[in-house]
Amino acid sequence: MTALLRIDNLYKQYKGSKFFLSSGFRNAVGPINFTLEKGKILTIIGENGSGKSTLVQMIAGVIPSTSGDIYINDHALATMTRQDRCKSVRMIFQNPKVSLNPKMTIGKILSAPLELNTDLTAAQRKQQIIATLELVGLLPDYLQFYPNMLSAVQQHQVAIARAMVLNPDVVIADSILSTLDISLGFKIVNILLKIQEKKGVSFIFISHHMNLVRHISDQIIVMQKGIIVENNTTDNIFNSPQKMITKNLLKSQQPDYRK
Protein backbone atom coordinates (compact mmCIF):
# COMPACT_ATOMS: atom_id res chain seq x y z
CA MET A 1 0.00 0.00 0.00
CA THR A 2 1.47 3.30 -1.03
CA ALA A 3 1.50 6.14 1.41
CA LEU A 4 -0.90 9.06 0.99
CA LEU A 5 1.58 11.65 2.20
CA ARG A 6 5.31 11.24 1.84
CA ILE A 7 7.84 13.80 3.05
CA ASP A 8 11.25 13.48 1.50
CA ASN A 9 14.30 15.29 2.94
CA LEU A 10 12.39 18.46 3.75
CA TYR A 11 14.45 21.41 4.96
CA LYS A 12 13.70 24.92 6.11
CA GLN A 13 16.68 27.20 6.45
CA TYR A 14 16.90 30.84 7.35
CA LYS A 15 19.59 33.24 6.19
CA GLY A 16 22.24 34.26 8.68
CA SER A 17 23.87 32.34 11.47
CA LYS A 18 24.31 32.73 15.18
CA PHE A 19 27.76 34.26 14.86
CA PHE A 20 28.15 37.96 14.24
CA LEU A 21 29.16 38.94 10.69
CA SER A 22 29.40 35.37 9.46
CA SER A 23 27.27 34.43 6.50
CA GLY A 24 25.55 31.14 6.06
CA PHE A 25 22.30 29.38 6.78
CA ARG A 26 20.66 28.42 9.99
CA ASN A 27 18.75 25.16 9.94
CA ALA A 28 15.27 25.66 11.34
CA VAL A 29 13.79 22.32 10.36
CA GLY A 30 15.24 19.32 8.62
CA PRO A 31 15.96 16.81 7.40
CA ILE A 32 12.41 15.51 7.72
CA ASN A 33 11.36 12.14 6.35
CA PHE A 34 8.09 10.43 7.15
CA THR A 35 5.04 8.89 5.54
CA LEU A 36 1.37 8.98 6.42
CA GLU A 37 -1.20 6.45 5.22
CA LYS A 38 -4.74 7.18 4.17
CA GLY A 39 -7.26 7.54 6.97
CA LYS A 40 -4.65 7.60 9.74
CA ILE A 41 -4.11 10.25 12.35
CA LEU A 42 -0.57 11.47 12.90
CA THR A 43 0.35 13.57 15.91
CA ILE A 44 3.48 15.66 16.18
CA ILE A 45 4.67 16.32 19.70
CA GLY A 46 7.69 18.20 20.95
CA GLU A 47 8.87 21.10 22.99
CA ASN A 48 8.08 24.69 22.10
CA GLY A 49 10.34 25.86 19.31
CA SER A 50 11.13 22.40 18.07
CA GLY A 51 9.84 23.18 14.58
CA LYS A 52 6.44 21.47 14.68
CA SER A 53 4.53 24.50 13.42
CA THR A 54 7.14 25.30 10.77
CA LEU A 55 6.89 21.73 9.48
CA VAL A 56 3.10 21.72 9.16
CA GLN A 57 3.07 25.21 7.68
CA MET A 58 5.45 23.99 5.00
CA ILE A 59 3.17 21.06 4.26
CA ALA A 60 0.13 23.36 4.10
CA GLY A 61 1.96 25.82 1.86
CA VAL A 62 1.84 28.81 4.22
CA ILE A 63 5.63 29.15 4.07
CA PRO A 64 7.84 27.75 1.30
CA SER A 65 10.36 25.02 2.04
CA THR A 66 14.04 25.53 1.27
CA SER A 67 14.58 22.09 -0.22
CA GLY A 68 13.02 18.66 -0.27
CA ASP A 69 9.73 17.35 -1.60
CA ILE A 70 6.25 16.66 -0.33
CA TYR A 71 4.34 13.94 -2.20
CA ILE A 72 0.62 13.33 -2.08
CA ASN A 73 -0.46 10.11 -3.82
CA ASP A 74 3.02 10.15 -5.42
CA HIS A 75 2.48 13.60 -6.94
CA ALA A 76 4.93 16.24 -5.79
CA LEU A 77 3.12 19.21 -4.27
CA ALA A 78 5.58 21.61 -5.89
CA THR A 79 4.52 20.50 -9.38
CA MET A 80 0.78 20.56 -8.68
CA THR A 81 -1.41 23.51 -9.63
CA ARG A 82 -2.50 25.74 -6.81
CA GLN A 83 -6.09 24.44 -7.10
CA ASP A 84 -5.09 20.78 -6.85
CA ARG A 85 -2.89 21.64 -3.95
CA CYS A 86 -5.75 23.38 -2.17
CA LYS A 87 -7.97 20.40 -2.78
CA SER A 88 -5.49 17.93 -1.32
CA VAL A 89 -4.06 19.68 1.74
CA ARG A 90 -6.03 22.03 3.98
CA MET A 91 -5.15 23.63 7.26
CA ILE A 92 -7.17 24.47 10.36
CA PHE A 93 -5.61 27.48 12.01
CA GLN A 94 -4.84 27.61 15.70
CA ASN A 95 -7.25 30.33 16.82
CA PRO A 96 -10.50 30.87 14.89
CA LYS A 97 -10.95 34.27 16.59
CA VAL A 98 -8.16 35.59 14.39
CA SER A 99 -8.38 33.22 11.43
CA LEU A 100 -12.02 34.03 10.53
CA ASN A 101 -12.43 37.40 8.88
CA PRO A 102 -14.71 39.50 11.15
CA LYS A 103 -16.17 41.38 8.17
CA MET A 104 -17.32 38.32 6.19
CA THR A 105 -20.35 36.15 6.85
CA ILE A 106 -19.84 32.45 7.49
CA GLY A 107 -21.38 31.74 4.08
CA LYS A 108 -18.85 33.97 2.32
CA ILE A 109 -15.95 32.54 4.32
CA LEU A 110 -16.94 29.02 3.33
CA SER A 111 -17.69 29.79 -0.30
CA ALA A 112 -14.34 31.53 -0.96
CA PRO A 113 -12.34 28.26 -1.30
CA LEU A 114 -15.09 26.77 -3.49
CA GLU A 115 -15.26 29.82 -5.75
CA LEU A 116 -11.51 29.92 -6.20
CA ASN A 117 -10.76 26.24 -6.59
CA THR A 118 -13.79 24.58 -8.19
CA ASP A 119 -16.09 25.17 -11.14
CA LEU A 120 -19.32 24.72 -9.17
CA THR A 121 -22.31 26.97 -9.78
CA ALA A 122 -23.67 29.15 -6.98
CA ALA A 123 -26.45 26.67 -6.18
CA GLN A 124 -24.03 23.73 -6.05
CA ARG A 125 -21.70 25.73 -3.85
CA LYS A 126 -24.48 26.48 -1.41
CA GLN A 127 -25.47 22.81 -1.33
CA GLN A 128 -21.88 21.80 -0.65
CA ILE A 129 -21.51 24.41 2.10
CA ILE A 130 -24.72 23.30 3.83
CA ALA A 131 -23.60 19.67 3.63
CA THR A 132 -20.26 20.62 5.18
CA LEU A 133 -21.95 22.63 7.93
CA GLU A 134 -24.07 19.60 8.75
CA LEU A 135 -20.93 17.47 8.79
CA VAL A 136 -19.38 19.64 11.48
CA GLY A 137 -22.67 19.90 13.36
CA LEU A 138 -23.89 23.41 12.55
CA LEU A 139 -27.29 24.52 11.28
CA PRO A 140 -27.59 26.08 7.79
CA ASP A 141 -28.92 29.26 9.50
CA TYR A 142 -25.38 30.12 10.48
CA LEU A 143 -24.60 31.06 6.86
CA GLN A 144 -25.87 34.59 7.46
CA PHE A 145 -23.96 35.09 10.70
CA TYR A 146 -20.73 36.94 11.28
CA PRO A 147 -17.94 35.13 13.18
CA ASN A 148 -18.11 37.34 16.28
CA MET A 149 -21.74 36.29 16.81
CA LEU A 150 -20.75 32.67 17.38
CA SER A 151 -19.35 30.97 20.48
CA ALA A 152 -15.76 29.75 20.61
CA VAL A 153 -16.77 26.16 19.82
CA GLN A 154 -18.96 27.23 16.92
CA GLN A 155 -16.08 29.30 15.56
CA HIS A 156 -13.92 26.19 15.73
CA GLN A 157 -16.60 24.27 13.88
CA VAL A 158 -16.64 26.90 11.15
CA ALA A 159 -12.84 26.73 10.91
CA ILE A 160 -13.09 22.95 10.50
CA ALA A 161 -15.82 23.41 7.90
CA ARG A 162 -13.56 25.77 5.93
CA ALA A 163 -10.90 23.07 5.87
CA MET A 164 -13.37 20.32 4.96
CA VAL A 165 -15.41 22.13 2.32
CA LEU A 166 -13.08 21.08 -0.50
CA ASN A 167 -13.01 17.42 0.60
CA PRO A 168 -9.23 17.30 1.06
CA ASP A 169 -7.04 14.21 1.54
CA VAL A 170 -4.96 15.62 4.35
CA VAL A 171 -6.10 18.07 7.02
CA ILE A 172 -3.60 19.78 9.27
CA ALA A 173 -4.70 20.96 12.70
CA ASP A 174 -2.08 23.13 14.36
CA SER A 175 -2.70 22.93 18.14
CA ILE A 176 -6.34 23.88 17.66
CA LEU A 177 -7.33 22.80 21.14
CA SER A 178 -4.98 25.13 22.99
CA THR A 179 -7.57 27.93 23.04
CA LEU A 180 -10.36 25.76 24.43
CA ASP A 181 -10.72 24.11 27.81
CA ILE A 182 -10.52 20.35 27.75
CA SER A 183 -14.24 19.49 27.85
CA LEU A 184 -15.00 21.70 24.83
CA GLY A 185 -11.79 20.45 23.26
CA PHE A 186 -13.13 16.91 23.38
CA LYS A 187 -16.27 18.05 21.60
CA ILE A 188 -14.11 19.34 18.74
CA VAL A 189 -12.03 16.16 18.76
CA ASN A 190 -15.17 14.06 18.53
CA ILE A 191 -16.29 16.10 15.52
CA LEU A 192 -12.91 15.54 13.88
CA LEU A 193 -13.02 11.80 14.59
CA LYS A 194 -16.53 11.59 13.15
CA ILE A 195 -15.36 13.38 10.01
CA GLN A 196 -12.41 11.03 9.72
CA GLU A 197 -14.73 8.05 10.01
CA LYS A 198 -17.11 9.38 7.35
CA LYS A 199 -14.69 10.84 4.83
CA GLY A 200 -11.54 8.81 5.47
CA VAL A 201 -9.27 11.84 5.57
CA SER A 202 -5.86 11.78 7.19
CA PHE A 203 -5.16 14.23 9.97
CA ILE A 204 -1.93 15.77 11.15
CA PHE A 205 -2.29 17.07 14.69
CA ILE A 206 -0.07 19.11 16.88
CA SER A 207 -1.03 18.80 20.50
CA HIS A 208 0.30 19.09 24.02
CA HIS A 209 -2.44 17.06 25.73
CA MET A 210 -0.80 13.65 26.02
CA ASN A 211 -3.99 11.87 27.06
CA LEU A 212 -5.73 13.22 24.02
CA VAL A 213 -2.81 12.27 21.81
CA ARG A 214 -2.96 8.72 23.13
CA HIS A 215 -6.69 8.59 22.52
CA ILE A 216 -6.78 9.79 18.94
CA SER A 217 -3.52 9.12 17.13
CA ASP A 218 -2.35 6.12 15.16
CA GLN A 219 1.18 7.36 14.70
CA ILE A 220 3.31 9.78 16.71
CA ILE A 221 6.30 11.83 15.67
CA VAL A 222 8.53 13.34 18.34
CA MET A 223 10.50 16.40 17.27
CA GLN A 224 13.44 18.08 18.92
CA LYS A 225 15.50 20.98 17.57
CA GLY A 226 14.04 20.68 14.10
CA ILE A 227 14.54 16.98 13.50
CA ILE A 228 12.46 13.89 14.08
CA VAL A 229 13.92 11.93 17.00
CA GLU A 230 11.27 9.27 17.18
CA ASN A 231 8.61 8.04 14.76
CA ASN A 232 6.50 5.13 15.85
CA THR A 233 3.00 3.88 16.49
CA THR A 234 1.12 5.22 19.49
CA ASP A 235 1.40 2.01 21.51
CA ASN A 236 5.14 1.76 21.02
CA ILE A 237 5.72 5.39 21.91
CA PHE A 238 3.66 5.26 25.08
CA ASN A 239 4.76 1.82 26.24
CA SER A 240 8.43 1.88 25.37
CA PRO A 241 9.72 5.39 24.68
CA GLN A 242 13.28 5.21 23.36
CA LYS A 243 14.59 8.74 23.73
CA MET A 244 14.97 10.89 26.80
CA ILE A 245 12.92 13.74 25.28
CA THR A 246 9.99 11.41 24.67
CA LYS A 247 10.09 10.15 28.23
CA ASN A 248 10.17 13.71 29.56
CA LEU A 249 7.29 14.81 27.36
CA LEU A 250 5.14 11.89 28.42
CA LYS A 251 6.03 12.27 32.08
CA SER A 252 5.51 16.02 32.23
CA GLN A 253 2.08 15.84 30.68
CA GLN A 254 0.69 13.04 32.80
CA PRO A 255 0.54 14.27 36.38
CA ASP A 256 -0.87 11.78 38.83
CA TYR A 257 -3.49 13.80 40.65
CA ARG A 258 -4.35 11.03 43.10
CA LYS A 259 -1.15 11.41 45.06
Binding site: N101, A112, Y146
Partner: protein, 296 residues
Protein backbone atom coordinates in the same frame (compact mmCIF):
# COMPACT_ATOMS: atom_id res chain seq x y z
CA UNK B 1 -25.58 43.07 15.65
CA UNK B 2 -28.96 41.37 15.94
CA UNK B 3 -31.89 43.71 15.58
CA UNK B 4 -35.55 42.77 15.69
CA UNK B 5 -37.97 44.28 13.21
CA UNK B 6 -41.67 44.75 13.86
CA UNK B 7 -42.49 41.14 12.99
CA UNK B 8 -39.94 39.99 15.55
CA UNK B 9 -37.84 38.31 12.91
CA UNK B 10 -34.19 38.37 13.67
CA UNK B 11 -32.31 40.30 11.07
CA UNK B 12 -28.56 40.46 10.85
CA UNK B 13 -26.91 43.79 10.25
CA UNK B 14 -23.78 43.97 8.18
CA UNK B 15 -20.77 45.45 10.01
CA UNK B 16 -21.05 48.67 8.00
CA UNK B 17 -24.70 49.15 8.97
CA UNK B 18 -23.82 48.41 12.56
CA UNK B 19 -21.04 51.02 12.55
CA UNK B 20 -23.41 53.54 10.94
CA UNK B 21 -26.09 52.89 13.59
CA UNK B 22 -23.51 53.52 16.32
CA UNK B 23 -22.42 56.71 14.55
CA UNK B 24 -26.00 58.00 14.38
CA UNK B 25 -26.26 57.81 18.17
CA UNK B 26 -23.47 60.39 18.49
CA UNK B 27 -25.48 63.63 18.18
CA UNK B 28 -22.48 65.91 18.10
CA UNK B 29 -20.86 64.03 15.21
CA UNK B 30 -24.16 63.81 13.29
CA UNK B 31 -24.55 67.59 13.66
CA UNK B 32 -20.99 67.99 12.32
CA UNK B 33 -21.90 65.71 9.42
CA UNK B 34 -24.90 67.88 8.46
CA UNK B 35 -22.83 71.04 8.77
CA UNK B 36 -20.21 69.37 6.56
CA UNK B 37 -22.86 68.48 3.97
CA UNK B 38 -24.05 72.11 4.14
CA UNK B 39 -20.49 73.30 3.55
CA UNK B 40 -20.17 71.04 0.52
CA UNK B 41 -23.46 72.38 -0.87
CA UNK B 42 -22.31 75.95 -0.30
CA UNK B 43 -19.05 75.32 -2.11
CA UNK B 44 -20.93 73.68 -5.02
CA UNK B 45 -23.49 76.48 -5.41
CA UNK B 46 -21.37 79.43 -4.29
CA UNK B 47 -22.06 81.40 -7.45
CA UNK B 48 -25.82 81.08 -6.99
CA UNK B 49 -25.84 81.95 -3.29
CA UNK B 50 -23.88 85.20 -3.30
CA UNK B 51 -25.97 88.41 -3.37
CA UNK B 52 -23.26 90.56 -4.91
CA UNK B 53 -20.46 89.64 -7.21
CA UNK B 54 -17.32 89.31 -5.09
CA UNK B 55 -15.58 91.69 -7.47
CA UNK B 56 -18.27 94.38 -7.56
CA UNK B 57 -17.01 97.60 -5.98
CA UNK B 58 -19.38 99.78 -3.99
CA UNK B 59 -17.85 103.27 -3.57
CA UNK B 60 -20.64 104.26 -1.18
CA UNK B 61 -19.47 101.77 1.44
CA UNK B 62 -15.73 101.55 1.84
CA UNK B 63 -14.43 99.52 4.77
CA UNK B 64 -17.86 99.30 6.38
CA UNK B 65 -18.20 97.13 9.47
CA UNK B 66 -20.38 94.02 9.80
CA UNK B 67 -24.01 94.91 10.46
CA UNK B 68 -23.96 94.07 14.18
CA UNK B 69 -21.20 96.60 14.80
CA UNK B 70 -21.80 100.33 14.87
CA UNK B 71 -21.45 101.80 11.40
CA UNK B 72 -22.45 98.60 9.63
CA UNK B 73 -25.38 98.27 7.24
CA UNK B 74 -27.60 95.32 6.48
CA UNK B 75 -26.85 95.93 2.83
CA UNK B 76 -23.47 94.31 3.38
CA UNK B 77 -23.98 91.77 6.19
CA UNK B 78 -20.31 91.17 6.89
CA UNK B 79 -19.13 94.62 5.78
CA UNK B 80 -16.92 95.56 2.87
CA UNK B 81 -13.22 95.87 2.17
CA UNK B 82 -11.16 98.87 1.16
CA UNK B 83 -12.52 98.79 -2.41
CA UNK B 84 -16.08 98.39 -1.23
CA UNK B 85 -16.39 94.72 -2.18
CA UNK B 86 -18.87 92.65 -0.17
CA UNK B 87 -17.04 90.55 2.44
CA UNK B 88 -19.71 87.84 2.62
CA UNK B 89 -19.57 87.26 -1.12
CA UNK B 90 -15.79 87.19 -1.02
CA UNK B 91 -15.82 84.79 1.92
CA UNK B 92 -18.16 82.38 0.13
CA UNK B 93 -16.18 82.60 -3.10
CA UNK B 94 -12.89 82.14 -1.25
CA UNK B 95 -14.36 79.29 0.73
CA UNK B 96 -15.38 77.63 -2.53
CA UNK B 97 -11.80 77.68 -3.77
CA UNK B 98 -10.16 76.55 -0.52
CA UNK B 99 -12.69 73.93 0.57
CA UNK B 100 -13.49 72.64 -2.91
CA UNK B 101 -9.80 72.45 -3.79
CA UNK B 102 -9.04 70.53 -0.60
CA UNK B 103 -11.94 68.16 -1.32
CA UNK B 104 -10.73 67.47 -4.86
CA UNK B 105 -7.15 67.00 -3.65
CA UNK B 106 -8.24 64.59 -0.91
CA UNK B 107 -10.27 62.48 -3.34
CA UNK B 108 -7.40 62.37 -5.82
CA UNK B 109 -4.81 61.51 -3.17
CA UNK B 110 -7.03 58.80 -1.68
CA UNK B 111 -7.60 57.19 -5.06
CA UNK B 112 -4.02 57.37 -6.36
CA UNK B 113 -2.45 56.69 -2.95
CA UNK B 114 -4.62 53.65 -2.31
CA UNK B 115 -3.62 52.12 -5.65
CA UNK B 116 0.11 52.80 -5.24
CA UNK B 117 0.14 51.88 -1.54
CA UNK B 118 -1.71 48.59 -2.05
CA UNK B 119 0.51 47.63 -4.97
CA UNK B 120 3.63 48.44 -2.97
CA UNK B 121 2.43 46.49 0.05
CA UNK B 122 1.59 43.38 -1.97
CA UNK B 123 4.80 43.27 -4.03
CA UNK B 124 8.03 42.03 -2.61
CA UNK B 125 11.61 42.50 -3.71
CA UNK B 126 13.39 45.25 -5.61
CA UNK B 127 10.40 47.29 -6.80
CA UNK B 128 8.86 47.54 -3.34
CA UNK B 129 12.22 48.32 -1.79
CA UNK B 130 12.97 51.13 -4.26
CA UNK B 131 9.56 52.71 -3.63
CA UNK B 132 10.02 52.29 0.09
CA UNK B 133 13.31 54.18 0.19
CA UNK B 134 12.08 56.83 -2.23
CA UNK B 135 9.13 57.53 0.07
CA UNK B 136 11.43 57.60 3.08
CA UNK B 137 13.57 60.22 1.34
CA UNK B 138 10.50 62.31 0.46
CA UNK B 139 9.15 62.12 4.01
CA UNK B 140 12.29 63.79 5.36
CA UNK B 141 11.32 67.04 3.57
CA UNK B 142 8.46 69.03 5.15
CA UNK B 143 5.37 68.92 2.95
CA UNK B 144 5.07 72.70 2.72
CA UNK B 145 8.68 72.92 1.51
CA UNK B 146 7.95 70.38 -1.24
CA UNK B 147 4.95 72.47 -2.23
CA UNK B 148 7.14 75.62 -2.37
CA UNK B 149 9.75 73.89 -4.52
CA UNK B 150 7.08 72.67 -6.93
CA UNK B 151 5.46 76.11 -7.08
CA UNK B 152 8.83 77.66 -7.90
CA UNK B 153 9.27 75.14 -10.70
CA UNK B 154 5.83 75.93 -12.12
CA UNK B 155 4.28 79.39 -11.97
CA UNK B 156 2.29 80.53 -8.94
CA UNK B 157 -1.38 79.96 -9.71
CA UNK B 158 -4.38 78.29 -8.09
CA UNK B 159 -4.19 75.14 -10.24
CA UNK B 160 -0.45 74.77 -9.69
CA UNK B 161 -0.94 75.26 -5.96
CA UNK B 162 -3.45 72.37 -5.96
CA UNK B 163 -1.04 70.15 -7.90
CA UNK B 164 1.86 71.07 -5.62
CA UNK B 165 -0.12 70.43 -2.43
CA UNK B 166 -1.41 67.08 -3.66
CA UNK B 167 2.06 65.95 -4.74
CA UNK B 168 3.51 67.01 -1.41
CA UNK B 169 0.85 65.13 0.60
CA UNK B 170 0.83 61.98 -1.55
CA UNK B 171 3.94 60.33 0.02
CA UNK B 172 2.39 60.55 3.49
CA UNK B 173 -0.80 58.86 2.37
CA UNK B 174 1.02 56.14 0.43
CA UNK B 175 3.21 55.44 3.42
CA UNK B 176 0.21 55.28 5.75
CA UNK B 177 -1.69 52.88 3.49
CA UNK B 178 1.46 50.80 2.99
CA UNK B 179 1.99 50.43 6.73
CA UNK B 180 -1.60 49.51 7.52
CA UNK B 181 -1.81 46.91 4.74
CA UNK B 182 1.57 45.53 5.72
CA UNK B 183 0.34 44.99 9.27
CA UNK B 184 -2.77 43.22 7.92
CA UNK B 185 -0.76 40.77 5.81
CA UNK B 186 0.36 38.90 8.93
CA UNK B 187 -3.22 38.40 10.11
CA UNK B 188 -4.39 34.80 9.93
CA UNK B 189 -7.60 35.54 8.02
CA UNK B 190 -5.50 37.09 5.26
CA UNK B 191 -3.12 34.10 5.28
CA UNK B 192 -6.15 31.80 5.12
CA UNK B 193 -7.52 33.69 2.11
CA UNK B 194 -4.12 33.51 0.43
CA UNK B 195 -4.06 29.76 1.08
CA UNK B 196 -7.44 29.49 -0.62
CA UNK B 197 -5.72 30.93 -3.68
CA UNK B 198 -7.29 34.40 -3.60
CA UNK B 199 -6.04 36.93 -6.13
CA UNK B 200 -4.60 40.16 -4.84
CA UNK B 201 -7.69 42.16 -5.77
CA UNK B 202 -9.94 39.75 -3.91
CA UNK B 203 -7.55 39.83 -0.96
CA UNK B 204 -7.77 43.62 -0.82
CA UNK B 205 -11.52 43.76 -1.41
CA UNK B 206 -12.62 41.17 1.17
CA UNK B 207 -9.67 40.54 3.43
CA UNK B 208 -7.80 43.78 3.96
CA UNK B 209 -9.81 46.94 3.21
CA UNK B 210 -12.89 46.08 5.35
CA UNK B 211 -10.56 45.69 8.31
CA UNK B 212 -8.56 48.90 7.93
CA UNK B 213 -11.42 51.41 7.86
CA UNK B 214 -10.28 53.14 11.03
CA UNK B 215 -6.70 53.95 9.90
CA UNK B 216 -8.03 55.04 6.49
CA UNK B 217 -10.52 57.46 8.05
CA UNK B 218 -7.74 58.91 10.21
CA UNK B 219 -5.41 59.23 7.21
CA UNK B 220 -8.01 60.89 4.98
CA UNK B 221 -8.92 63.30 7.77
CA UNK B 222 -5.30 64.29 8.26
CA UNK B 223 -4.75 64.74 4.52
CA UNK B 224 -7.86 66.92 4.22
CA UNK B 225 -6.89 69.11 7.17
CA UNK B 226 -3.37 69.55 5.88
CA UNK B 227 -4.65 70.30 2.37
CA UNK B 228 -6.85 73.15 3.65
CA UNK B 229 -4.02 74.60 5.72
CA UNK B 230 -1.47 74.30 2.90
CA UNK B 231 -3.70 75.85 0.24
CA UNK B 232 -4.44 78.72 2.60
CA UNK B 233 -0.76 79.07 3.51
CA UNK B 234 0.33 79.15 -0.13
CA UNK B 235 -2.36 81.72 -0.85
CA UNK B 236 -1.32 83.80 2.16
CA UNK B 237 2.34 83.82 1.13
CA UNK B 238 1.50 84.73 -2.45
CA UNK B 239 2.60 81.42 -3.98
CA UNK B 240 -0.90 80.19 -4.67
CA UNK B 241 -3.94 82.02 -5.95
CA UNK B 242 -3.15 85.27 -7.75
CA UNK B 243 -5.34 88.39 -7.94
CA UNK B 244 -8.12 88.84 -8.86
CA UNK B 245 -8.95 85.26 -7.83
CA UNK B 246 -9.64 84.85 -4.13
CA UNK B 247 -9.10 82.16 -1.59
CA UNK B 248 -9.28 82.22 2.22
CA UNK B 249 -5.53 82.54 2.83
CA UNK B 250 -5.27 85.23 0.17
CA UNK B 251 -8.19 87.16 1.73
CA UNK B 252 -6.22 87.39 4.96
CA UNK B 253 -3.03 88.42 3.15
CA UNK B 254 -4.86 91.15 1.20
CA UNK B 255 -6.29 92.73 4.35
CA UNK B 256 -3.23 92.45 6.55
CA UNK B 257 -2.48 96.18 6.09
CA UNK B 258 -5.98 97.04 7.25
CA UNK B 259 -5.79 95.07 10.47
CA UNK B 260 -6.20 98.17 12.66
CA UNK B 261 -8.90 99.78 10.55
CA UNK B 262 -11.16 96.76 10.08
CA UNK B 263 -9.89 93.65 11.88
CA UNK B 264 -12.95 91.55 10.80
CA UNK B 265 -11.49 91.34 7.31
CA UNK B 266 -8.82 89.10 8.85
CA UNK B 267 -10.86 87.56 11.64
CA UNK B 268 -13.71 86.27 9.46
CA UNK B 269 -11.63 84.20 6.96
CA UNK B 270 -9.50 82.88 9.83
CA UNK B 271 -12.65 81.89 11.72
CA UNK B 272 -13.99 80.15 8.61
CA UNK B 273 -10.81 78.07 8.24
CA UNK B 274 -11.10 77.17 11.92
CA UNK B 275 -14.77 76.16 11.55
CA UNK B 276 -14.09 73.97 8.49
CA UNK B 277 -11.29 72.10 10.25
CA UNK B 278 -13.30 71.70 13.47
CA UNK B 279 -16.35 70.35 11.65
CA UNK B 280 -14.35 67.86 9.62
CA UNK B 281 -12.42 66.69 12.67
CA UNK B 282 -15.53 66.25 14.83
CA UNK B 283 -17.21 64.28 12.05
CA UNK B 284 -14.27 61.94 11.45
CA UNK B 285 -13.63 61.53 15.15
CA UNK B 286 -17.23 60.37 15.60
CA UNK B 287 -16.84 58.02 12.65
CA UNK B 288 -13.59 56.67 14.04
CA UNK B 289 -15.13 56.00 17.46
CA UNK B 290 -18.09 54.26 15.82
CA UNK B 291 -15.74 52.04 13.81
CA UNK B 292 -13.67 51.13 16.86
CA UNK B 293 -16.81 50.42 18.89
CA UNK B 294 -18.32 48.41 16.05
CA UNK B 295 -15.26 46.23 15.69
CA UNK B 296 -15.23 45.16 19.34
Amino acid sequence: MLINNEFNEQKIQSPLHYIWSIFLKNNFAVFAMWVGIGLILISLFADVIVLYSPFLQDPEHLLSAPYWIEGGTTEHLFGTDDLGRDTLARLIKGFQFTFGGALVITCAITFVGAIIGSTAALTRGLKASVLHHLLDALLTIPTLLIAFILIVLFDPSYQNALIAVSLSLLPQFIRGIYNTIDSQLNKQYVVALQLDGATNIRLLRFGIYPNILEPIVTLVNRIFTMAILEIATLGFLGFGTQSPDIELGKLIADSIDLSYLSPWLIILPGLLIFIIIMVVNIFTEGLRHAIIQGED
